[in-house]
């Protein structure tokens, strides 16, 4: 289980001294429609990308804040996982991309009427960002603009 004590010494030390950031989202939103009528999009930090897209850049100090657009009809097994972190076990997501980008599950929920629809595009980032200034000032607003353009009603986010 992912408990603080299970992490390696390197990460425990880092987490003890790191100043975690937050971003003021107040007052927050409320759903205007029930889930069964809502269009859902996914934002994951699992560093998934399509073979025709550039991989994430592991060399950028503070982290790569770029994102990849993943269309709804993407064959999940064709996606690559390029996350630079060695803090987590990569084998689960490599076997089944649904663990981070659950498009198969969402399509099932759509056909059963649990959710209204699955958005046409989803967004993938590489989560190991220690200097998140541009994540909140640039990437977040850009991704939000796409989501609004698509008429997304709610967003699911997944870490690895």
């Amino acid at each position: 289980m992912a408990k603080f004590s299970d992490l390696t010494f390197k990460y425990r030390l880092f987490m003890k001294t790191y100043r975690y950031r937050s971003y003021d989202w107040a007052p927050g939103t409320t759903m205007v429609k029930p889930l069964s009528e809502s269009r859902i999009a996914v934002v994951t930090t699992a560093a998934l990308y399509r073979p025709d897209q550039p991989p994430f850049d592991e060399s950028i100090r503070g982290g790569d804040v770029s994102y990849r657009v993943i269309p709804k009809d993407t064959e999940l097994s064709s996606l690559r996982e390029g996350h630079r972190s060695d803090a987590f076990d990569h084998t689960g997501v490599e076997k089944d991309k649904n663990l981070a980008l659950p498009l198969d599950r969402l399509r099932e929920l759509e056909s059963e009427g649990v959710i209204g629809s699955v958005n046409e595009r989803h967004f993938s980032l590489m989560g190991s960002i220690t200097a998140p200034g541009r994540l909140t000032s640039e990437t977040g607003p850009e991704v939000s603009a796409f989501l609004r353009e698509d008429g997304v009603d709610a967003v699911l986010l997944t870490p690895v």
């Binding site: 289980m1 992912a2 603080f4 299970d6 987490m15 975690y20 950031r21 937050s22 971003y23 003021d24 989202w25 927050g28 939103t29 409320t30 759903m31 029930p34 889930l35 809502s38 934002v43 930090t45 982290g63 972190s85 803090a87 987590f88 076990d89 689960g92 076997k95 089944d96 649904n98 663990l99 981070a100 659950p102 198969d104 599950r105 929920l109 649990v114 980032l125 989560g127 190991s128 960002i129 220690t130 998140p132 994540l135 909140t136 977040g140 607003p141 991704v143 939000s144 603009a145 989501l147 609004r148 997304v152 009603d153 709610a154 967003v155 699911l156 986010l157 997944t158 870490p159 690895v160």
Partner: protein, 89 residues
Amino acid sequence: MCNQSVGLIQSVIEKQGIPTSSISLLREVTRKVHPPRSLFVDLPLGYPLGRPHDAEMQREILVATLRLLESDQPLPILEEYQVREFSLS
């Protein structure tokens, strides 16, 4: 850092007016970042939706995360998903 990155971009999207809900694998981190709605899932890092190819478990965690969107509790919400059993074998 994934849990902070999720919480931050989530907070930006929420601020832009779209309701958001996330999975957390590290409760301590999510508490500090305090995004609007999060489901803490006590599973190993790398397994936010549970076991590979276990559609039932994945669906349950996914639906539980989405249901937070319909909650009328005051924000922020940080709930815990009850993991019944988990092994990778």
